[in-house]
Subunit: 192 residues, 4 copies
């Protein structure tokens, strides 16, 4: 309906992503999704037998897109700091360009759905982050505190930057803010 979709399954996921982020899971009827996707109500249930299945599938897709965006150009970087800096910037830029997908992912942090989805599984896609952190701690470059905590702080601070930029319309200063916030976070995380 919106645009030609290769197949209906993809159209449904795209519509879900859009509507779930705009309206929240529970405020988005499946009928609205199928309409937005340009398919019949029954078609949605052929591919996703349950609304919950649809939510979970959408989550996995979104998480995957984020993980891909974060690592663009990663292999070119040499030092640990440069790698983290690249990821830092990639993530912020992706978040600014895909605010809905990011918002959608955040819904899971505080929703009952989070328990139903294997945290483990979702985290596999971010193994590259865990690896980097482990490498940094081992090499004595990062503070020797709970690895998961470093991970969480990085992520949450990153989201904070995105939120601040988009909420206050600071897109013009994006590059400065990326750099400034990275220095701040990096100097906090790295061994003094």
């Amino acid at each position: 309906m919106r645009e030609y979709q290769k197949d209906k399954k993809e159209a449904i996921i795209n519509a879900s992503l859009k509507l779930f982020t705009e309206r929240g899971f529970d405020n988005t009827p499946t009928s609205m999704i199928s309409q937005e996707a340009g398919v019949a109500t029954g078609t949605l249930f052929r591919y996703y037998p349950t609304k919950e299945d649809l939510i979970n599938s959408t989550y996995v897709i979104a998480k995957d897109r984020l993980a891909r965006a974060m690592t663009v150009g990663l292999s070119k970087e040499k030092t640990l700091e440069d790698k983290v800096r690249l990821i830092w910037g990639n993530t912020i830029r992706w978040g600014l360009q895909n605010p809905q997908e990011l918002l959608f992912l955040e819904q899971f942090l505080s929703s009952p759905y989070i328990t139903r989805i294997t945290e483990e599984e979702a985290m596999k896609k971010f193994a590259f982050m865990s690896d980097l952190i482990e490498e940094g701690v081992t090499a004595g470059k990062l503070r020797d505190i709970h690895r998961g905590l470093i991970f969480e702080i990085l992520f949450s601070a990153n989201r904070a930057v995105i939120r601040k930029i988009s909420t206050h319309g600071l897109e013009r200063q994006t590059d400065e803010l990326i750099d400034g916030s990275f220095e701040l976070v990096w100097s906090g995380l790295s061994r003094s």
Copy 2:
């Protein structure tokens, strides 16, 4: 029902707080709230004409409780660093003791409801934080970057610590983690 309530209005808010945090907004019927509060269904709507009104009122209450908890003992501290450190620890301890209320507040960060509630109003209660940050920047103790960004990073890192502790059952090491994470954050924020 649960305990003797001064008046029905309070009973309703308490029931809301409990149920919303346990089950989420959309999964909590107003009928369940009125039952938990020990009042008739109609009574709830006398005080809160709309479910949305109830959600917003509950939000304000919870936010207020958080703000109070954060500032306990604040007047005793002298230096900026000590004040922020106190707030940092207060927040984490409160979050660990009131996980549901915290979760409830976080629901708003990514829910469509956030747009409906005056961000301004909610933020007034945290004026003490803004003041501290302003003071720190002015005095040259904190990095001179966007004030709101400092605020957001502080908050999000704080939540990250809480989440990590409760998710991984690290309550025993709470004090160390509070201290360690504060050093990390503070060294990031402060002027080198």
Copy 3:
């Protein structure tokens, strides 16, 4: 809607009885029942939380009405034969006057619902029949075969008479057919 109903619960049962017998359980939407009863869709579910609950309640009511109709005037009769003859006639006349209720009851014999309803419980209302049969066998008036079988044969033959009369429009000869069929069945059941 149809007529003034003392209370909604009764109106719903009456509508159910009518529609279930006319259309079958599965071909009768709850919305149609509530409409026929002149209540809102939600009201039906206040009284009967599930369609199945409604079906079962309707069944119990109908069974009860039948049991009452069967025993009208029973205390006046003296001999076993007269008692059974009275019940025989009562049942046929009630069946002819309430064809839908009878049909409704028969639906249970061949429906999956029968397993869900305590056969025992339903049978309690017909204890007077079991007692009569037991009395007859003990007194040597009835053949000494499986009591339940006598019960079943009586019932099914009775229904056969009703069905035949109403299917073939033999209402004019009702009295003769009642008598004739009773003689037939009685001479079969009684000890020669």
Copy 4:
């Protein structure tokens, strides 16, 4: 799917018979039937344009099987009583061995579908019974009451016996119960 089927049409009927009896008409989706039959959903509708058509066809087949089973060995019997006795026993044994098919047939007695199927047509297959009854009445061996009534009583008593045996697990006493119930019914029907 189950076993090799000569043609799809037969496979569909067999699947219908099985599933309709196990689950009832309305609780059996056509998709389930086509799956059980090992054909595509569309194929079913090539042979039976409507679910109702399929139900009716299945009914006719089942009725035919019953009629055949009832008359096995009938030509060997000489007297009227022996013929009826044979049919009596044949029917009970078939019913015990094919409880689901019998249940399926009974569904029609009290279902709205009965009006849609030509009673006449279904009855043609039981002409042998009508003939026997007519013969008996004419010869003065059976009571001179409404022929159809005799037919109905015979059938319903017969089903009552089957039901009683299978409900109470009396299979061991099948032969006695067949004989006992036949004596009972026959002495009722025959001219004293």
